[in-house]
């Protein structure tokens, strides 16, 4: 196999995911409506109750809307990762997964291409959301827009790999509803997406520790700093580490040894 062949394969997988995404217009719509509702309705209501004091990386007091922007961006990436996972389960049920598995190119490469596609779609949705967020007076600098891109990409890789891992474990489409209850909601709510960890600590110490060990917290913090043109090295290290671990597990779960019949 030549380098060109790898390129054609990767571009084919990415194009397919993009085509499918735009075919399903409701997916794009709901991807934007969900975080916008949180930003406009939920955050507006909590704005008065939850003023956020000075904390890193913010140099001054900020509004609650500004605080939850990184969390909502990560929410978009999380939902997109799980949606891709759902589409993998659908592909397996409909049989089209076999086409991917019959490729002469290696499985790690194919899954990596899938992750690139997921990450690109996440990136696009996050940027559309950030542009919409300008309407509610959330200001992000040009530098913030630029530095957010690699952060979103890394986070999307992690959450995409998690989605792939879940898709290999979920055998039927009907069982996917459980992902909402057992993965998406706990990951999102038990993180620093909606409240700073020190607020969690004030409320409950054990909740605080759960949030501390939730990798999604580090995704949110990585993006929070990136939107301010800063690098949170701890968050990056954690996110990169869990990405590698999850991707390896996803890869193992897709090998024929671990799936007798797809």
């Amino acid at each position: 196999m030549t380098l060109n062949q790898y390129y054609y394969c990767c571009s084919g997988i990415v194009k397919r995911e993009v085509f499918r995404f735009f075919q399903q217009r409701s997916r794009l719509f709901s991807a934007l409506v969900r975080p916008l509702l949180w930003l406009i309705v939920f955050a507006a209501g909590f704005r008065a109750a939850l003023g956020v004091s000075i904390m890193e990386p913010y140099g001054t007091y900020i509004t609650y809307q500004e605080y939850i922007i990184p969390g909502l961006c990560c929410m978009i990436v999380l939902f997109n990762g799980m949606q891709s996972s759902l589409s993998m389960v659908y592909d397996r049920e409909m049989g089209s997964m076999k086409v991917l598995l019959m490729s002469p190119l290696s499985m790690p490469f194919l899954l990596c291409c899938k992750l690139i596609a997921i990450a690109l779609l996440s990136l696009m949705q996050v940027y559309v959301f950030l542009l919409c967020a300008q309407l509610v007076d959330v200001d992000i600098s040009i530098l913030g827009y630029l530095t957010a891109a690699p952060a979103v990409f890394v986070i999307a890789f992690f959450l995409g790999a998690l989605g792939l891992l879940l898709s290999s474990l979920i055998k039927q489409l009907e069982n996917f509803a459980g992902v909402m209850n057992f993965v998406i909601f706990p990951m999102f709510f038990l993180s620093s997406a909606l409240y700073p960890l020190w607020k969690m600590q004030e409320a409950s110490i054990w909740l605080y520790w759960i949030c501390q060990y939730n990798p999604f917290t580090y995704c949110v913090e990585l993006l929070r700093f990136a939107l301010f043109g800063q690098l949170n090295l701890t968050a990056l290290t954690v996110v990169l580490s869990v990405t590698v671990i999850t991707a390896v597990l996803a890869l193992i779960s897709f090998s024929p040894k671990f799936s007798k019949q797809r």
Partner: protein, 242 residues
Amino acid sequence: MGIVTNSLSFAYGKKKALNNVNLSLATGFNVLLGPNGAGKSTLFSLLTGLTQSVHGTIQINNIDLNTKKSQIMSEMGVVFQQSTLDLDLSVKQNLFYYASLHGIAPKKALENIDDILAQLSLTERLDDKVRTLNGGHRRRVEIARVVIHQPEVLLLDEATVGLDVDSRLLIISYVRDLCAERDICVLWTTHLMDEVKPSDQLIVINKGEIQAQDQSSKLCEEHKVDDIYQLYFALTHNTEAV
């Protein structure tokens, strides 16, 4: 050239699906005949590497499937019993996607596609969504897809089941012509007797075991029967076939 399996066995838990299957298929049109649940789809799954065999070996074009799967996949085309097309994409997008998975440039793929679609009377449907096609056309798209990369081994699992007569005839004659023109190895799985020709290599499988394997006319002579239906009944004692 062809497919060789040695002592191939497979079980789903305690239920044996294949038992000591020894196959030797050369280039040409090979028909695998067997009733539902005989083990045909399991054999397909093993031959395509989607399921890994625990007992026995599989060689395709003299290459061991477990050690050089990637090389084999580049020389193999498979049509599964269940449709594997992406319904939300157009015919063209489906074909390009498949070509890209085999590392074929879009320009080169287009050259191949034009020719193949013309032979399968599908040229006018190129930009249509697969969802809008009927069963016969969808099957043709699947056939078109698996020959884009010009495989040397073609596996088709009940490719004509549930189709109208025209589509069945077109598909089977296309595959037969392709087999003769390119001298490739075709494994055609079916339970439809009328698809078997006297000159075809016939393999009859039942309850996970190979019952007979030879040229179909020779097998009829050997078992002193007049036609494939009688041969099939004699070997499997199954009356489901039509």
